[in-house]
Structure formats: C-alpha cells, structure tokens
C-alpha cells in the first residue's frame, strides 16, 4: 500500500532514528511512503498555547498539501503530537464549515485551499490495523524469546480520539510485541502521561511523571514508544532521575519500528540504534542473541558513555 508521509520537525532533528526506522520498516513490509513536499510545522504544543487560529491553520496547511499530493489518501504520521494536531484540525473543520472558511482565508496566503478529504493516520494505527501482527510474525528472523518489552503509548495517539485502541487501556502493541517473539511487560503506565514539554518549562512536575513510568518499567528489558516527545522524556533523564530517587532505574528505550525492524531482520545500523540515548550494552547483547550473560540485568547503561 502507499501512504502520504508527514515526518514532522522532530523526525528531522532529535528523533532522526524514528524517521529512519519508520521508513526502513515500512519499506521492508512492502509499503511505499510519499513524503509531503514542503510540509511545515504542525504547531506542536506551542501553537495551542499561543494562538487558537494558528493551532488549526498550521496543521490545516499540511492537510491541504496532502490533498494536492497524488498517489495515496491516508497521511501516515509517526509523531503523536503532530498526529493529534493534524487529526484535530481535520475533525474540527469537517464539523464546522465556517471554521473551514476562516482557515482557508489564512491558507490563501500560501495559495492553498483545504476541502477536508485527507485521512490522518498514526503510525501505530497503520502497523496494528493495516499491517497486523500476523504479517510481522511470518517475517520474523530473530529469536527474541528472552526479551520482555513494555509498550508505552503515551497520550495523544489515544486521546481524545479513540481511533484504533482503547483510550484508557491500550493494548494494540501487545500482539505486535508477541508477534516479534518477545513477551509483554504488563503494566498500567502504557497510556499515562510523560509530562510532554513540562520537562523544559516545569521540570519538577515533568521529572516526577517520568519517574513514575520508569519505576513501573522495572523488570522490562526495554520500553517501546511511538512518539518522539515520550521517547526523549523517557530516555534522556534516566541518570538524574535514578540519582534523585536513589536507585538505578535505567532501561533501554526504543521506537516501535526499531524494535519490530530488528525482529524482521533489519540491522541495528539500518534502524540507527546508535542514535538512541538509552540502549544498554546488556540489551544489545540480548538482541544479538548472547542471552545467558545478561539475563535480568539492568545495571549497564550505554547512556554513561554518551554523558
């Protein structure tokens, strides 16, 4: 199948490996991504915090570019914040013709016009619904039977629009993890908030939320995520949080397409595992099949070498 592709700003910077691994995984599964030409920022959480009109016009601008783009209808979005911004603009505009007119007045400045025909899809939606666990299972090349994976969904791919999963008790990643041959770390934190940009503006509150997630991840070999903001929050502050908490809470954190990509035989290089901030040596060994040495060990932190 073909999808229009909106990577978003993070995937060109701090989340490059999410971009690379999404492309590599989708290609390996036989799907083609058509990147939107001249896409712009969706407004992130900054537009919503500064201007209501811009918070709708910025994503609408990209929806309008998507409508003009030939080859596919569904827009695949890996970043949950981008996904929700695009989805929200789409939902609101479909229900409110007056709002559509208003937004189109703004888009005219860029010679664009939105009709409301595109379909916004999160990467997890596409992987779990269109590709499906069975398809992945038949392509698995690695033995991940010793790995325990904690699925972390975050907020904005689940709420407020329940499209492909239960917004309170998400499960869509579990069959995917099992299809890859690993076991699921069952926990209640999958759909809880990581604090989003609080880590920058309200660090105390943000760190507290990340701590509550890392604490519950104990026993898992890795957390997998589907959002660059969640990924960064969970991987970048482990050392500080562990020090403040008085216990080593370090754990590997991978993007979902990195993990699934490894399972179907893509290389660590193809998936840019070297760009992650928290992949422990022990976890790497397990990925490479050297299981006996490291079972249950969470001490070793690759982060240390980068710090």
């Amino acid at each position: 199948m073909k999808y229009l592709y909106y990577p978003g700003c993070s995937l060109e910077g701090t989340a490059m490996e999410y971009n690379v691994s999404t492309r590599a995984f989708m290609q390996a599964m036989g799907h083609e991504l058509i990147e939107l030409k001249e896409w712009t920022c969706c407004g992130a959480s900054a537009a919503e915090a500064t201007s209501r009109l811009l918070s709708l016009a910025l994503p609408a601008l990209n929806l309008a570019i998507a409508e003009k783009t030939e080859g596919a209808k569904d827009i695949l979005v890996p970043c949950s914040a981008c996904y929700l911004n695009l989805k929200k603009a789409d939902e609101k505009i479909r229900k409110d013709p007056a709002l559509l007119n208003k937004v189109n007045l703004i888009l005219k400045e860029k010679n664009l016009r939105l009709q409301g025909k595109a379909r916004v899809r999160h990467l997890l939606d596409v992987i779990s619904q269109d590709i499906g666990a069975e398809n992945i299972r038949t392509r698995v090349k690695k033995d991940f039977s010793g790995l325990r994976i904690a699925p972390y969904y975050g907020c904005q791919c689940l709420r407020p629009y329940p499209v492909f999963d239960d917004p309170e008790m998400p499960r869509s990643m579990e069959p995917l993890i099992e299809a890859a041959g690993a076991s699921v770390h069952h926990w209640d934190m999958g759909g809880k908030c990581c604090g989003a940009s609080h880590i920058n503006t309200e660090p105390e509150a943000g760190l507290e939320l990340v701590l509550s997630i890392l604490r519950e991840a104990e026993g898992a070999d890795s957390i997998v995520t589907v959002c660059p903001m969640c990924q960064m929050n969970l991987e970048a502050y482990q050392k500080k949080i562990s020090a403040d908490y008085g216990k080593d809470l370090s754990v590997s954190v991978l993007y979902l397409p990195q993990f699934l990509g490894l399972a179907i035989g893509l290389s660590e290089k193809d998936l840019r595992l070297d760009m992650n901030l928290a992949v422990s040596g022990g976890f790497r060994n397990k990925l490479r099949g050297k299981r006996s040495e490291v079972r249950g060990q969470r001490q070793e932190v690759a982060m240390a070498s980068a710090a």
Partner: protein
C-alpha cells in the same frame, strides 16, 4: 490601578467569556481533578479552576499556575461526564497568558513564543535558533546551563543542526502568521 493595568484587566476578562461558555455545563464532579496527572503539582485543582471561571474570577485564575501545568494528556476531556472540551479550555487560558504576556507565566510563554518565532521564520522549527531565542528572552545566565548536558549529548549524536538559519527564508510562514494575527485581533476587538 493605572490605565494600562485597567485595560489589561478588561481584555483578560472579555477573553474569558467564550471559554466560560464552553464549560457552562460543568457539574463540579471533580472527575477532571481525579484524572489529571499533573494535579499533584497544581496550586488549585482543575475542578476549582472551572468553578472560578464560571464565577468570572479572572484575578484568581491568573494568579494560579494550574492551567499552565496542563500537559494536554486529554484524560479529563475523555472522562468528563458532560463531554466538555476541558483540555481545549486549558489551551485557551494559555493563549490569554501568551497574548497578554502575563508575568507569572514568563517561562512557559517565552518558551512557546520562541518556538513559534522559529516556525514563523522557516516553516519548520530550527532547534538551535529556538533555544537561542528562548535563552535570550529569559535573560537568565543560568538557564542555558540546565539544558547544556542534553544539548551536548544530542550534538554528539548528530541530532542538532548547527547551520545558521537563512535570513528571509523562502519557506517563511510570516504571511500565514500575520493573517491569523489580524483575524484574531478583529475577533477580540468585536
């Protein structure tokens, strides 16, 4: 109260009216407070905030950090038994704080505005420029130190672009921003 302060107070008060309308049906059940992951850090609960909003207590609302501590997880919106757009209402309170440059919210407002300025100039955010704008606007010599360790790690991974952003970038969204500002100004003057 001088004239400028009086004017600011009036415009904040008017701006609250459309938000109040959205949450008019609030029954004060507190499901929002019980669902909020940030409630522990707030000086008043979300339920309390909605009550003040219904009563038009602008001054108390804008002395509280509650709405700025909303991280848009949408639990309250999902669970509200009256189906009220609570996360959106939190966002609209943030917009007032940004528009009026209200001092207690400097840290967040300047962060978001610096981000938007970079998007305005280039169409996509340029992290280095965004953070430089933010540090400059905060005028705090210590703030960059807090971000330095992560910044260096990201740089060592090649995740931060060091190129100098273009002046007069052809991808600029200035026209889009100006149009939106013009339309919002007309609306708030009505």
């Amino acid at each position: 109260m001088n004239q400028a302060e009086h004017k600011e107070k009036l415009s904040v008060h008017d701006a609250l009216a459309p938000i109040r309308e959205k949450i008019q049906a609030c029954i004060q059940c507190g499901t929002c407070s019980g669902s909020c992951p940030n409630e522990f850090a707030m000086d008043m609960t979300p339920r309390h905030l909605w009550r003040l909003l219904l009563m038009g207590q602008a001054e108390d609302i804008f002395h509280s950090k509650t709405f700025m501590l909303c991280s848009a997880c949408y639990y309250c919106t999902l669970r509200c038994p009256r189906g009220l757009p609570l996360t959106e209402a939190m966002g609209e309170l943030k917009q007032i704080a940004a528009r009026e440059n209200l001092v207690p919210y400097n840290q967040s407002v300047r962060f978001y505005k610096s981000f938007m300025e970079s998007v305005r100039r280039h169409g996509r955010v340029q992290e280095m420029e965004f953070m430089t704008l933010y540090f400059a606007s905060m005028k705090s010599p210590f703030l960059p130190l807090r971000f330095a360790p992560l910044g260096l790690r990201l740089m060592s991974k090649g995740k931060v672009h060091l190129h100098i952003p273009l002046q007069n970038d052809p991808e600029s969204l200035d026209a889009v921003f100006r149009k939106a500002e013009e339309m919002e100004k007309v609306r708030s003057e009505k």
